[in-house]
């Protein structure tokens, strides 16, 4: 009897940590252990509950193991052979293309599972004659663009250098839930004497453990950052030597700060002026100080400017290029793989912003969208205006969804094709917090009824008579060819250890060279105007749907829909193991707001605006800022709130992000 074997792999979820994992499988092919990979210095031999839950998820009773076709009666699904499913799908795609053209098919891919092979779908679509896809991102693009405009690249220090910090400013971020390995490092720093300050309108596990907690109005972060900068410059605590050598446009920026006296910043943010002043002084005096910005302060229509304003604080205080300091938003050091080899597209692929799927499904013309293929995503739950997306999908001629489990999106499909798990196809996985490229191992062959997406696309190409040479026959060789120039040999090392292939070193911008147009930190960024029509200097602009907007007279509460440690968006919530330890999906509301509406703790409430409504239980808590309410996102199973029914299809000022946190609502007891 063969002994249990342990295989090194990586969690491919859309999560900061991207944990290295060791999976131990017994002779019957059952997962008997999941451990963290001690060779990944960032995740340091640990995974989280989601990583451990793969032991359940791999063989979960509700996993899809055969293709499903919508029943002829129209309700429910029936199993179908792959052969029949692919033949019918091919015929219907062909018919849609013949009538409306190839752009009438929407190819939608989400972020549900990371890996280079996911890009192979385009080998089919390019030969199909094109299709329609989405651009931008639901999650983080405004912050990426703001960082790129400011520093020239999205890089930050190696996570382990967090321990060297003396002051950690956590902004719009909840690492205790969403980046737990970073949280461990922050707690280590705190034990060594560092101060943790958190800016968040909510109270979270992160804010509870902090030393300072400021709760500004959502969407006012630009004013807060500029107010902090004003205090720092007035106190003479800016780093003149650094700024003289490495800043561009500092004098113009400094003049702009006059508009953001601390009293005005206090007025806009709803914080006491003294709190802003004290935070600014503490941040500026501590050396080194680390600013960790989350995605939370860039989920509104003025996000790019807010992120620009915040991103400049480390440069202002000379905290860039030093261990324990810096601007930590996203570290794309591992995003060094080459472009996939693909057949040329016959014409540019039509795209629309991913935050506006509903409106484009409803109104796009020339041609309209008549069919959709959705994989690694769940737009019927996770995108703005989700109920309209579900309705629009149901009206299409053909919807194919590839997933491991039924989802609200899959419920709208004509065909649901069962997806592989992370253990069923080898791949390369990059990260956005640590610098490592990691090997995702094939631990198991897919079950008999399951095909990896790369194989589905190859089979479809065959059916259409397309060239299939773009698809790997030897996956390892195919992945080797994606490695950066001169690094092909790493393909033999990657199954044994995570590798930093970037050559950047542990400290971002240690050389003080910034790949911006000027080679300096851009306090003034003309590119922001050229590319996005945004002001070159960061500024606070009130939100169209913010606390001071006319709409607030009818819908006075700002709704946030944040992330929980129990899920990655709508993934994992179907598992009994996770549900047994997860926290409830309720509406958090401040006692003042609750009392004004006669709402009691635990009572049912209706949350509504002009876009939609949802009903759930209230949790009355003094931990949340008055005027702000919160519901966890991530609709996964019956009973979860469909929070994106309330969210509009706005776009961020830079880079086509979604505006989940710019959402006014009213709440009433039911």
């Amino acid at each position: 009897m063969p002994a249990p074997r342990t295989i090194r792999t990586v969690c491919p979820r859309n999560c900061y940590c991207t944990c290295g994992m060791l999976v131990t499988v017994d002779e019957s092919g059952r997962i008997i252990r999941i451990d963290g990979d001690p060779l990944n210095p960032a995740t340091d031999g640990r995974v989280c509950l989601k990583g451990l839950s793969y032991a359940r998820r791999q063989t979960a009773p509700d996993r899809l193991l055969t293709p499903l076709r919508r029943s002829r009666s129209g309700s429910g699904f029936e199993p179908v052979e792959w052969e029949d499913a692919l033949s019918d799908i091919a015929a219907r795609l062909d018919a849609v293309r013949a009538t409306y053209g190839p752009s009438s098919v929407l190819y939608y891919e989400g972020s549900g599972s990371h890996g280079a092979l996911g890009g192979l779908a385009m080998a089919f679509w390019h030969q199909f004659g094109g299709c329609t896809t989405t651009h931008g991102d639901l999650c983080w693009p405004a912050g990426l663009e703001a960082t790129r405009l400011t520093y020239g690249a999205n890089l930050h220090n190696h996570p382990r250098l967090t321990r060297e910090s003396r002051f950690i400013l956590v902004w719009g971020h909840n690492p205790a839930e969403t980046n737990i390995h970073q949280w461990r490092l922050m707690l280590d720093a705190q034990e060594r004497g560092a101060v943790i300050a958190v800016i968040d309108p909510r109270s979270t596990d992160t804010t509870d453990a902090a030393d300072i907690h400021l709760q500004p109005r959502p969407g006012t972060d630009a004013a807060l950052a500029l107010g902090i900068a004003n205090v720092i410059v007035e106190a003479g605590l800016h780093d003149e030597a650094f700024l003289r050598m490495h800043a561009q446009g500092f004098e113009a920026y400094r003049a702009r700060l006059a508009d953001y006296a601390v009293e005005r910043a206090a007025d806009i943010t709803g914080l006491p002026p003294e709190a802003i002043r004290q935070l600014a002084l503490a941040y500026a005096r501590a050396k080194p100080a680390l600013l960790v910005a989350g995605f939370g302060l860039q989920r509104h229509s003025r996000a790019g400017q807010a992120m620009r304003a915040a991103a400049l604080l480390p440069a202002l205080t000379g905290n860039v290029g030093v261990a324990g300091g810096g601007w930590q938003y996203a570290n794309l050091a591992s995003h060094c793989l080459r472009e996939l080899p693909l057949p040329p597209a016959p014409r540019p692929v039509r795209t629309f912003p991913v935050s506006q799927v509903a409106r484009h499904l409803e109104t796009l013309d020339g041609p309209p969208v008549r069919a959709a293929w959705i994989e690694r995503g769940n737009p019927g739950s996770q995108n703005p205006a989700a109920p309209r997306i579900r309705r629009a999908l149901r009206a299409l001629d053909l919807v194919v969804v590839v997933d491991q489990f039924m989802t609200p999106t899959a419920e709208c499909a004509d065909y649901v094709l069962p997806a592989k798990t992370l253990f069923e196809e080898e791949d390369l996985v990059t990260a956005y917090w640590h610098p490592y490229v990691q090997w995702r191992a094939r631990v198991f062959d897919p079950p008999a009824g399951v095909k990896p997406e790369s194989e589905i696309w190859r089979l479809l190409c065959e059916r259409f008579g397309f060239d299939t040479r773009w698809f790997p026959t030897d996956r390892k060789a195919w992945l080797r060819d994606l490695l950066p120039e001169g690094q092909a040999h790493a393909i033999d090392r990657l199954p044994h250890e995570p590798l930093d292939l970037s050559g950047n070193g542990d400290i971002a911008f240690a050389s003080r060279h910034f790949p911006t147009a000027s080679g300096r930190v851009a306090f003034e960024a003309p590119d922001a105007t050229a590319r996005w029509g945004a002001a070159a200097l960061p500024e606070y602009v009130p939100l169209d749907e913010g606390h001071a907007a006319p709409l607030a007279s009818r819908f006075p509460l700002q709704l946030l829909s944040c992330k929980t440690r129990d899920r990655i968006h709508s993934q994992f919530g179907n598992l009994d193991w996770v549900r047994a330890v997860e926290r409830p999906h309720v509406l958090d509301i401040h006692p003042d707001d609750a009392a004004a509406r006669g709402i009691v703790d635990g009572g049912r409430v209706v949350v509504w605006n002009e876009r939609g409504r949802l009903e759930l239980a209230a949790r009355v808590t003094p931990g949340i800022r008055p005027g702000v309410v919160h519901v966890l996102e991530g609709w996964c199973h019956d009973g979860d709130p469909d929070v994106n029914a309330l969210v509009g299809e706005g776009r961020t000022d830079m880079n086509d992000g979604a505006t989940f946190y710019e959402c006014l609502v009213e709440v009433q007891r039911r």
Binding site: S53, I180, R184, I212, W577, A580, R583
Partner: protein, 194 residues
């Protein structure tokens, strides 16, 4: 000398549940009730207090009520203090469920016996930490060896955790730190004393 048990750092524990899942995997608790649980306290942050979480399983008490109340002598205390349960002796009478004030033993209806956390005795005997401790992502949950001194500052009693039956659990807590949580917590402790 006190027996083996756990230490929980209330500042580091975020109640994520990784320990619960690690226990399930290690001990084959796939469909059955988990031996370890997360008890979130004060998620509403009432009384100005912080939210905090207990990760609890069996406390391997000095004076175990489960053992004392078991008519079939299914429970035993090893020399290192680990309280183990022998399911071959268990009658499934569920007295221990009633006597244990912490709600630790769980009844596995399909097998008609009770079961509980054995502190991963098989791992301890192999020189390894219990699975829950090994998996804790923040380092909040620690194994306390038999006879080890309680670290200075650790405490046996915290708001939300009581020993009403004099079991003397081998579970100690590191109180929260940080300027937000710590004073709020102190206030809760004070309120608790009164």
């Amino acid at each position: 000398m006190t027996g083996a048990g756990f230490r929980l750092d209330l500042h580091r524990c975020v109640g994520c549940g990784a320990c619960v899942l690690a226990c399930r995997i290690e001990n084959g608790r796939v469909e059955s009730a988990a031996w370890r649980r997360i008890l979130p306290l004060n998620l509403r942050r009432r009384a100005g207090g912080p939210a905090y979480t207990f990760s609890v399983a069996c406390h391997h008490c000095e004076n175990p009520a489960c053992l004392n109340g078991c008519p079939s002598r299914a429970y035993a205390r090893r020399p290192d203090g680990v309280v183990v349960h022998d399911e071959h002796r268990c009658l499934g009478c569920r007295y221990c469920e009633m006597t244990c004030p912490f709600g630790t033993p769980v009844f596995d209806g399909d097998r008609g016996v009770v079961s509980k956390c054995p502190l991963c005795a098989h791992r301890l005997d192999a020189g390894l930490a219990p699975a829950c401790v090994a998996a804790c992502p923040t380092g909040a949950l620690q194994f306390a060896e038999a006879g080890s001194a309680r670290p200075p500052g650790d405490t046996a009693g915290v708001p939300g955790f009581a020993d009403p039956a004099g079991c003397r659990p081998n579970l100690t807590f590191t109180p929260p730190r940080g300027q937000v949580r710590s004073p709020l917590f102190e206030r809760l402790v004070e309120r608790n004393r009164r």
